[in-house]
């Protein structure tokens, strides 16, 4: 119960600053798309597969959200779903970065 009360307080806090919060989130979203676009359009096609594999790992950043599920006392379904989300996101993160490293290690330039 206490946790729920705490969440309520948190939510009303959000309400007070909702406009500025939204503006920050919107600008983060737009800025990331622009910066991402600028940086990634310069990646050579040679590296497109490792790029996708790495961004795939990064998209499992939802692991942070899954961990935050456990920041308030979760009920039983939340525990099950939350744990599942953590495990799958961890699978995606670790697998993605590992496989990217394995691929990139294969690229060799014999001239050098």
């Amino acid at each position: 119960m206490q946790a729920h009360a705490r969440q309520w307080v948190k939510l009303t806090e959000f309400n007070k600053t909702v406009m500025s919060e939204l503006l920050i989130m919107l600008s983060v979203f737009i800025l990331s798309i622009i910066i991402g676009y600028l940086l990634i359009s310069k990646v050579p096609p040679l590296l497109h597969t490792p790029l996708m594999s790495m961004t795939n790992a990064i998209s499992a950043v939802t692991i942070l959200g899954a961990l935050l599920v456990f920041a308030v006392v979760p009920d039983i379904p939340d525990t099950v779903f939350g744990a599942l989300a953590i495990a799958l996101a961890a699978f995606n993160v670790v697998g993605g970065f590992t496989i990217t490293e394995r691929m990139l290690k294969l690229f060799k330039n014999k001239k050098e």
């Binding site: 983060v28 798309i33 790029l51 795939n56 499992a60 942070l64 495990a87 699978f91 691929m103």
Partner: protein
């Protein structure tokens, strides 16, 4: 927790991420980039764990360990030809995580009506769920577990759009609910989204897979970003949006390389012409790879007195510079090692050998480069289409291995075919052309390749691996 401190930490983590992307210019730099992105994510996890009191730590740690261990195990065992299937599978895992988190947060969100968070939550839920099911289908197709050709249902496009409308409507009603009805309707929404993912991915196959996998890359990022809005987490929004941008760029590159419009890939609009007689109604399955009946005339027989293999060896010997055009057929026959072995031989006898890589040569963007790198081809020899096309004219010999549509001159000369206007590798400009394909049937597009009937072309039909082994043996024994 201090807000400013939190902001600074987030900024640092985002900067490490972006720094990783700026290193993605050379393979060596990319390794550092990959490492710094992994480091940034690990840092973010540590920050979350230390700054919040995590309940039920034993469950959390167990889930983290199991997921990581499985991820690592699978990633270490998978071989390079399976990379597209593996990446698609991971997209799916990320999709589930995104829709589960959105689901939990939506049931916890007690605000009535529609705030931005709620709408974002719905979007995270729907996009995450369709990424999951779409990726599972894509992964199954890429791993050859699902061998079915693209399946077109009756009124397929109507079903797709109908489902989309249904999801929006469900979201609209869900916004006013609380408690148990809310949970139920959210589950319905997940089910509808999963169905939508299935419906749009089953009709895509063959050469369109690179578009699908890139698109799912973008949606996985988008789902994470929307999930970030509902939990007010800047990192999720920033990372998710960057990934969405990356996936969109790759989708665009793939569409351009195939002269396909994204809408046509998904809504499935097919150019109707004589070369595409397959009807798309009433559960008719389109056997995309098997449109063979169209170009039924047999190819021009090589002059009977010259054995093509002997002729091929002679041409290889005479050539001073060679460009190899690898296609998915090469990868499918696992012939990349033999191709590289043969070209190494050619190089040892003083010839200049380069590889021309078409953007859609593999099953995902850049896949061919990874396969060739695995076969220990130096990456300075892998040249992109735009950089090598003007060189074919000056080239003595082009060796095509398992490629058809990407070297089909009909793309430039004919109108109203699926490949018309598609950029191709100009292998037909080389002085001689050696084709090591399984057969002389048309490729995925179903369009006959006039190149095969050209006099300067030597056809070595059959399994590419066997053909290459024969070439290598003859080349060695006769030198």
């Amino acid at each position: 927790m201090n807000n400013w401190f939190e902001l600074v930490i987030d900024l640092i983590i985002i900067l490490i991420f972006l720094g990783g992307f700026t290193r993605f210019r050379t393979p060596k730099g990319a390794r550092q980039g990959n490492f710094s992105a992994a480091f940034a994510l690990a840092l973010a996890v540590v920050v979350i764990i230390t700054s919040y009191r995590i309940m039920q730590p034993h469950i959390v740690i167990l889930a983290l360990l199991i997921g990581s261990a499985l991820g690592w195990l699978v990633a270490m065992r998978v071989n390079m030809i399976q990379i597209p299937a593996m990446v698609a599978f991971q997209h799916g895992a990320g999709g589930i995580a995104a829709f589960l988190v959105s689901f939990i947060e939506l049931t916890r969100n007690t605000l009535p009506g529609f705030g931005v968070e709620k709408i974002s939550g719905f979007l995270g839920l729907a996009i995450g769920a369709l990424t999951f099911s779409g990726s599972m289908i894509a992964s199954g197709k890429l791993a050859n577990i699902i061998k079915k050709p693209p399946l077109v249902l009756p009124m397929h496009s109507h079903i797709t759009i109908g489902l989309l409308i249904l999801i929006v409507l469900t979201g609209y009603f869900t916004g006013y609910l609380q408690g148990r009805p809310l949970t139920i309707l959210l589950a319905v929404m997940v089910a509808e989204s999963i169905l939508l993912g299935l419906v749009f991915s089953i009709r895509i196959g063959g050469a369109d897979m690179p578009v699908l996998i890139s698109f799912l890359n973008a949606t996985a990022g988008l789902a994470a970003a929307f999930c970030g809005v509902i939990i007010h987490n800047r990192l999720l929004i920033a990372c998710g949006a960057t990934v969405a941008a990356s996936g969109s760029i790759l989708t665009h590159v793939m569409c351009k390389a195939m002269n396909r419009n994204l809408l046509k890939v998904f809504i499935g609009f097919r150019v109707k012409d004589s070369a595409d007689p397959i009807p798309a109604f009433f559960g008719e399955e389109i056997v995309a790879d098997n449109l063979a009946g169209i170009g039924d005339e047999s190819p021009a027989e090589p002059p009977a007195e010259v054995d093509p293999l002997t002729e091929a060896i002679r041409v290889c010997r005479e050539a001073k510079n060679v460009i190899v055009v690898p296609g998915y057929g090469m990868a499918f026959a696992q012939a990349q090692f033999d191709v590289v072995r043969f070209t190494t031989l050619l190089e040892q006898s003083g010839k200049e050998v380069r590889f021309a890589i078409h953007p859609v040569a593999g099953r995902m963007p850049g896949h061919m480069d990874v396969l060739l790198a695995e076969a220990e081809l130096s990456y300075d020899k892998m040249i992109e289409m735009d950089d090598i096309n003007q060189d074919f004219e000056k080239t003595d010999l082009a060796i095509i291995v398992g490629a058809c549509d990407v070297v089909n001159p009909a793309a430039m000369t004919t109108k109203n075919t699926p490949i018309s206007g598609m950029p191709i590798l100009l292998a037909h400009n080389a002085k001689r052309v050696l084709v090591c394909n399984l057969d002389d049937k048309p490729g995925y597009s179903g369009i006959d390749n006039p190149l095969y009937k050209n006099k300067k072309v030597i056809m070595l039909l059959g399994d590419a691996k066997e053909t290459l082994t024969k070439l290598i043996d003859r080349y060695i024994s006769e030198s």
